[in-house]
Amino acid sequence: MALETLNLEHIPSTHRVYAAFFRDVTNSDFLHAQLLARNPDFDYAFIEASSVISRRHLQSAIFNALVTILDGTLLSATPHSEVVLSMSPNNNIADAYRRWGIAPGKTKDLIVVKPAAHTPEAMWAHLSESIKGTPVPLSDEEISKATDWQKMRKYYSLNSVQMLSKIESEEKKRQEMERLAIMKMALRGL
């Protein structure tokens, strides 16, 4: 079972989050249609994996979403949309869905997040049945294969950051871009 339980610091166990990563997904049209139809069986946050930098990046967004859920200060309609919105550096929900949500016909790599109490076995059975793709571990290595850095630079306005061009090591540069993206998410709406 490639479904992972994320136990984040400072999050009560009542708000446990489940996540899975699928590559080479072929039925994004179908999945997108379920979201539009508000099919209650598809109560997941679908995240376009090419817009995710790393585990920490994803976890930060989930953490920020959980904070608003615990506070009861959700900006969007559901906990699931709150996770998608938390990936964004601004409060535009439509924009967040366009960039971090599932894109019909386009999404190849998909991360599924479910921030609510649920039995993992049933959830996994449902996911593996409805998503046509290859489940892979939600690791930095797998995520980095999907990341589209050009998009990341655009979405988190990293092109204007001059200090990045001074960093020689590619690894260090990615680390800094990850941190800048996390800061952009943390400062959303300020």
Binding site: L8, I11, S60, F63, V161, L187
Partner: protein, 262 residues
């Protein structure tokens, strides 16, 4: 001891939720408290700055002030970080709840580094004839550069002291210096932007330097004569720095307050 401290101060709500290790209270000021805790994973330490609500303020005003101050601090950190000034990165925040989680900076405050270096030196501060002061002078120069970098980005720290600067140990450079020189080694990371403002006027920048100069003189009277090295390396750090140094003369003559009112 930690337990009694926590009884004294109620924890912010976010810290009452389970984590791999209990938070520890690091510092306490008039406006806020600083805890060391973890972010996302047990292996990632972070600092959580919490501004509790003040019971003597009107609740609406209190909420607004807390929110605005957390937001202002986070924005300044973001601006500095993007410009390449060494400051802690912001991990997460909840402005309404009054907390911000930032990167945990390893190392010790510059204040402690300088004091460790000075050790048992006599009151007048003159070093023994044989002593090589280069490492300490280098530290002064790094401080000047760090403050210059900060001012270049249009940020005024507002509370520059040697306690609000950390000496982050060099990871890549294995040190072959003696124990004494090690005390003043490391990258300068500026911390505590609680009083920071955004400004690029000579006056504000000069006052910022003046505050540091006065704080330095009272914290490290034995190293006061080395403060000139801070200004020396500040001067070439950005274009308008020389005129700030000139302005500093005026500020020294009259003190920190320009208007002399209040």
């Amino acid at each position: 001891m930690a337990a009694t401290e926590e009884q004294q101060f109620p924890l912010p709500k976010i810290l009452t939720y389970p984590a791999s290790a209990p938070p520890s209270l690091i510092a306490q000021g008039a406006e806020g408290r600083l805890y060391k805790t973890t972010h996302l994973e047990s292996g990632l330490p972070c600092a959580l700055k919490y501004r509790p609500s003040k019971p003597y303020r009107h609740p609406i005003l209190d909420a607004r002030l807390t929110k605005a101050r957390i937001a202002a601090e986070a924005k300044v950190l973001d601006r500095c970080y993007r410009e390449g000034v060494r400051v802690p990165a912001v991990y997460a925040l909840d402005a309404a709840a009054g907390w911000v989680m930032i990167e945990w900076v390893d190392g010790k405050p510059v204040r402690q580094g300088i004091n460790d270096w000075l050790g048992e030196r006599p009151e007048d501060g003159t070093p023994a004839a044989s002593e090589d002061e280069t490492p300490l002078v280098d530290l002064m120069k790094r401080i000047g550069e760090a403050v210059g970098n900060l001012h270049r980005t249009g940020v005024i720290h507002g509370d520059l002291t040697t306690s609000n600067m950390m000496l982050k140990p060099w990871a890549s450079r294995p040190s072959n210096a003696g124990d004494k020189a090690k005390a003043v080694e490391g990258d300068i990371v500026l911390i505590d932007f609680g009083l920071a403002t955004q400004s690029s006027s000579d006056e504000d920048r000069a006052v910022d330097l003046y505050v540091l100069e006065r704080a330095f003189a009272s914290t490290h009277p034995r190293a006061e004569r080395l403060f000139c090295h801070v200004l020396d390396s500040y001067k070439p750090s950005y274009k308008k720095a020389p005129s700030v140094i000139i302005k500093l003369e005026d500020v020294r003559m009259r003190g920190r307050k320009k208007s002399m009112l209040g």
